[in-house]
Amino acid sequence: MKYLDEYRDSGKAKSLLDAVYKKVTKNWNIMEICGGQTHSIVKYGIDELLPKEINLIHGPGCPVCVTPVEKIDKAVDIASNPNVIFCSYGDMLRVPGSKSDLLKVKAAGYDVRIVYSPVDAVYIAKQNPDKEIVFFAIGFETTAPPNAQAVFLANKLGIKNFSVLVSHVLVPPAIEAILSSKDNRVQGFLAAGHVCTVMGFREYEDITLKYKIPVVVTGFEPLDILLGIYMCVSQLEEGRSEVENQYARAVTREGNIFAQSIMNEVFETGEMKWRGIGRIIRSGLRIKDKYKEYDAELKFGVVNYSVEESGDCISGLILQGIKKPFDCPVFESKCNPEHPLGATMVSSEGACLAYYLYKEKKLT
C-alpha cells in the first residue's frame, strides 16, 4: 500500500516545520475538526514540534464521542433482546451509556456483532429471516452514504427484518455552532479530509465568507497535517479567509456526487443532540418517511429517552475546544480506557484516549 510512508517522511516534515516557524509572527488558535487528525497529531507529537504561537484545539469530529448517551441506551435496550442480532462498527461497543454498554450486553449472552460494512448487516438479515437485524448507523458525512446504501439495498431486496438505529451528525453546523459561541477562541480550521471527500468543500465557502475565517481541507498523515497548518497559518498571517484544499489527492470541490445522492435518497437533515454539547439545529440526519419501516427506533418503540450525563466528565468542553483532557479532574483516575466515563476516552479518535495513550501526564 502506498500513500503512507511518503506522508510520514521526517525530512520533509522538518522542512514544513521550518516553513511554519518562518511564517508565524502572532499567536493563533487553530482547530482540527476531525478526531482522526487529533490522533495523528498526538501520536506523532506534531503539537510538540510546532512553534509555541500555534495552539491546536481539538474539535468535535469524533463520531463515537458525540453520539448522545440516549442513543447508546437505545442500542443497549434493542440489543438486549433475544430475537435481535445487533451489528455495529467496532469502537461503539465500549462506549458507556447511562447503565451499560454493548460489550457488556454481548458478554451477557446477547448477539452483538462487529461488522466492517453496514451492507454486511443486510446480508446477515437475509441469512437469518427469523431474527431482527439492527445496524447502529452512526457517524459523520463519511459513513452516511454506506449506511444509506444498506437501507436502500434492504428495501430493494425486500428485506423486512433489517433496520438501522441512526445517529448521524454533520460537520458544517457544528463549525457554525462553535463560531457563534461567545466562548469561541478558534481563528482557523483544518476541515476533515474524509468528510470533504464525500461532500466536497462548497459548503465551507459560505462559512469563510460569513465568519471571515480560514478553512483548510486537510488529510490525516503527519505531512498532510503540517502542510494544512502551514496553509492555515499563512492565511491568518496574510489576513486571508478562504477555503483551501490541502487534501487534493482525495477531495474535489463538488465531492462524491453518487455518495451524496444515495445519502439524500434515504436521509434528511434535522435537529440533533451532540453528546456533551447539546442540541444543534439541522446538524443531524434522520430517515425519510419513505424508508421509515427501516427506522429501528420506531420498530422497537425506543423513543423519548432522556438521560443526565456524568457530572464528572468534561468531554463536552473538550469537544468544543474549551478545555484539554489534562484539565479534567478525573482524567486517568476515575476515567480511563478500561472504565471510560465519556466517549472521548473510548474512541480511537477521542482526544482523551489520544492523550492517555501518548502523553506523559502519568509521569508528572
Binding site: 501520536k43 514540534l49 467496532g90 469502537d91 465500549r94 502523553k359 509521569l363
Partner: protein
C-alpha cells in the same frame, strides 16, 4: 507480586474490577484487562514464589536439575489459516514459551476438546500437523486427553498443550535479569499472525496474501544460548503484540525502555490492512516473533544470528534499556523524532468506524 499490583493500581482505575459482572472478550485480549484479571483474581488467590514473575513459564529445580514448565490453550478461529493451523500453533506456542525461559523443550501433553460434528478428516489434518511440528521442534507428545462436547458448546476444536523443558544450570533468563544499557532485539516484522487471522474471518472481505508468522523459536534461541551471548530476558510476542510484551517486561523489571519507531518493521501488506481497520501493528498478535534483551557487547553477535533466520531480513535492534523506573515505562521515539508513551493495549483492538 505486591509491586506489580501496586504499579497496576497506580496506572489504572481505582474502581474495583468487578465493575464487570461477566467476562468480556477484552479480558482475554492480552492487554491491561487481562493483566488485571491475572493480578487481581488469579494471583490474588494463587500467588507463590514460582509464578510471581509472570514469565512465559515457570522455572524450578527438582533433584538438582532445572526444568521449565508451561501451558497454553489454543482456540483460534478459523482452525486452518494462511501460514498455519491450530495444531501447529499448539505445538509451536508452547515450545516457544519454554524457549523463552531458556529451556530446551522436551515433552508436551495434548488435550483436545472437540465439538460434536467436527470433521474427522480435519482432525486428522490437525494431528498430522502436530506430528510435523513436534518433529521439527524435537519434542515428544507423551500424554493426552480427549473430550467431546455437544454441538454448540464449543467452536469446532480447542487444544491445550502443556510442556516441560530442560534448562542448563548456568542459564537464568527472566525479567529480573534486565539491566540498564541492555539492547533489545527482535527477530522479524510484526503483525502478520493477527492480520492473517483477521483477513480470513468471513465477515471481512479483504483479499490478501498475508500468511501467519507461526514458527518455532527454540532452534534460534538455542543458537543464541550456545554462542555464549549474555541473554538477560526473552519474550515471544503473542496476543497484545510487541506493545504488550515490552510493557510486561518493563513493569516486571521496573526499567524505562526506549524504542525507535523506525526500527519496528511492518510489511506493506500488514501496514495496509492495519490502516484500513485502524489497528496499530505494535498491538497486533504474532506467533513467530520474540524480543531478546542482551548485554550491549553481545548485541552485534545476536543480531547476526537473527539475521540468518527465515524472517531475518526484518530483524532489528529495537532499542535500549534506560534507567530504573518504578512504573516500568516504554517510550517510543516517533518517526517525527518526538518521544511518546507506548502503552499496553487496554482491551481488544476494535475496528474503527471510519
Amino acid at each position: 507480586m505486591n509491586d506489580a499490583k501496586n504499579i497496576i493500581d497506580k496506572l489504572s482505575c481505582p474502581l474495583p474490577d468487578n465493575n464487570y459482572d461477566n467476562i468480556t472478550m477484552a479480558h482475554g485480549g492480552g492487554g491491561k484487562m487481562m493483566n488485571n484479571l491475572i493480578d487481581k483474581l488469579f494471583l490474588h488467590y494463587l500467588s507463590n514464589n514460582l509464578n510471581d514473575e509472570k514469565h512465559d513459564g515457570a522455572v524450578f529445580i527438582s533433584e538438582g536439575h532445572k526444568f521449565a514448565f508451561t501451558t497454553d490453550s489454543y482456540v483460534v478461529n478459523p482452525v486452518f489459516f494462511p501460514g498455519g493451523d491450530i495444531g501447529r500453533l499448539a505445538v509451536y506456542g508452547t515450545v516457544n514459551d519454554l524457549a523463552m525461559c531458556g529451556a530446551k523443550p522436551a515433552y508436551l501433553s495434548l488435550g483436545l476438546i472437540i465439538e460434536e460434528g467436527f470433521s474427522i478428516k480435519d482432525l486428522e489434518k490437525i494431528i498430522i500437523s502436530i506430528k510435523e511440528a513436534s518433529d521439527r521442534t524435537g519434542v515428544k507428545i507423551i500424554t493426552g486427553d480427549t473430550k467431546v462436547v455437544e454441538k454448540g458448546k464449543g467452536d469446532g476444536i480447542f487444544i491445550n498443550t502443556a510442556g516441560i523443558g530442560i534448562v542448563r544450570d548456568d542459564i537464568n533468563i527472566s525479567p529480573s535479569r534486565v539491566e540498564e544499557g541492555d539492547l533489545i532485539l527482535i527477530n522479524g516484522d510484526v503483525g502478520r499472525h493477527g492480520i492473517a487471522i483477521m483477513t480470513t474471518r468471513e465477515n471481512l472481505d479483504i483479499e490478501s496474501t498475508i500468511k501467519s508468522d507461526c514458527a518455532p523459536l527454540n532452534i534460534v534461541v538455542q543458537q543464541l544460548i550456545e554462542s555464549g551471548i549474555e541473554i538477560h530476558c526473552l519474550r515471544d510476542l503473542t496476543r497484545g503484540g510487541l506493545g504488550s510484551a515490552l510493557n510486561e517486561i518493563a513493569s516486571s523489571a521496573k526499567f524505562e525502555i526506549e524504542i525507535d519507531e523506525k526500527s519496528i518493521n511492518v510489511t506493506e501488506e500488514v501496514k495496509g490492512v492495519c490502516e484500513i481497520l485502524g489497528f496499530d501493528p505494535v498491538h497486533v498478535a504474532n506467533e513467530g516473533r520474540f524480543i531478546a534483551f542482551v548485554k550491549k557487547k553481545d548485541a552485534g553477535k545476536a543480531f547476526d544470528i537473527l539475521k540468518q533466520e527465515e524472517s531475518g531480513k526484518y530483524a532489528s535492534i529495537l532499542g535500549v534499556v534506560k534507567g530504573k523506573n518504578k512504573y516500568g515505562l516504554v517510550i517510543l521515539k516517533s518517526i517525527m523524532g518526538v518521544n511518546r508513551i507506548l502503552d499496553m493495549m487496554s482491551g481488544e483492538q476494535l475496528p474503527r468506524i471510519c
